[in-house]
């Protein structure tokens, strides 16, 4: 059913395997969310999300085979996204908040 594969085309089996791997990672993340990880819950969930994103990017979206200009475009977009989130968070994090109005001493 599978005539000779055109050059540099990923075999169908790797695609299916990648799908299964992604589902597994999602399941793991779902399972972990029930444990009370407290402060680590978000970083762990995001780390797994980043792994899934990289897999999706390199296998399904064939990021590796792109021309350098397309890679530059994607890289620039990611850079600007991190810049926006980072500098906004920096502002919120380093704000000096004056104390709530001190009650007048009776």
């Amino acid at each position: 059913m599978n005539p000779e594969r055109p050059p540099n085309a990923p075999p169908l089996s790797t695609l299916v395997l990648t799908g299964v791997l992604l589902l597994a990672l999602a399941g793991a993340s779902y399972g972990l969310s029930f444990l009370t990880l407290g402060a680590y819950a978000l970083p762990v969930a995001l780390a797994i999300a980043v792994c899934k994103a990289l897999i999706l990017l390199f296998v399904f979206m064939e990021f590796g085979k792109l021309s350098t200009s397309a890679k530059l475009a994607a890289g620039a977009a990611l850079l600007m996204l991190l810049l926006l989130v980072g500098l906004m968070l920096a502002d919120v994090a380093t704000r000096v908040r004056p104390p709530l109005p001190p009650p007048t001493v009776s």
């Binding site: 799908g19 589902l23 779902y30 978000l42 762990v44 999706l56 996204l81 968070l89």
Partner: protein
């Protein structure tokens, strides 16, 4: 563009494929930044109201959200497989995979709207309206739910556009308008669908898990 090898102003088909792929990736960059603003608002909101956001996440319908994640991941695989089938000129198989992707996408939307209905019944409405917020008065909670409705709503709009694109491409592949010579037309739609999945991969932990 009725099937001739390449538009006149490109020297060769490969050049045009390369160009459309670059154009598509630039469009993906702009879509990523469209959602980037929402991620930034979430980050700043969560930093200012940490307990309210955790309380919001605890209330989110985790099972439905996770089911949706599974659906989107599978749909990403099916659309990738359909691209490979068309690359091997197996049009019929490619169309079937595209149609399964469309079905999965529709299932995602159905689950999503049922989830919204669920929240509305529980009295959670965007903007902090709804009786739920009369009893839960912490301000950050209203912000969490408004951001939730805004982000998943905008994502659902993109999923619906994706369904239309997938449907029309499936039709054009079945009619032979898109063949392996013009694979990039299908690849672009697949890339768009993968981006929708990529964004959901990050929305899911932020609003459902952690």
């Amino acid at each position: 563009m009725s099937g001739q090898a390449h538009a006149s102003h490109f020297e060769s088909g490969a050049r045009q494929a390369d160009a459309t792929l670059l154009g598509m990736w630039l469009f993906l960059a702009s879509e990523l930044l469209l959602f980037g603003g929402l991620f930034a608002l979430y980050a700043a909101g969560r930093f200012e109201n940490p307990s309210a956001f955790r309380q919001g996440v605890a209330l989110a319908a985790k099972t439905v959200g996770s089911l949706n994640t599974g659906i989107l991941l599978v749909s990403s695989s099916t659309v990738a497989v359909s691209v490979e089938f068309l690359r091997r000129d197996q049009r019929h198989a490619s169309v079937i995979c595209l149609l399964t992707t469309v079905l999965l996408g529709a299932a995602f939307l159905a689950l999503k709207f049922s989830e919204y209905a669920e929240h509305f019944k529980a009295g959670i409405r965007p903007g902090g309206a709804g009786p739920f917020f009369a009893t839960h008065a912490t301000p950050g909670l209203a912000l969490f739910w408004t951001l939730y409705f805004f982000s998943t709503g905008l994502h659902a709009v993109h999923v619906s556009i994706g369904l239309l694109l997938l449907g029309s491409t499936a039709w054009r592949v079945s009619q032979g308008a898109i063949t392996s010579a013009r694979l990039y037309s299908l690849q672009n739609v697949a890339l768009y669908w993968h981006l929708i999945d990529l964004i959901w991969v990050f929305l899911w932990p932020l609003y459902y898990l952690a």
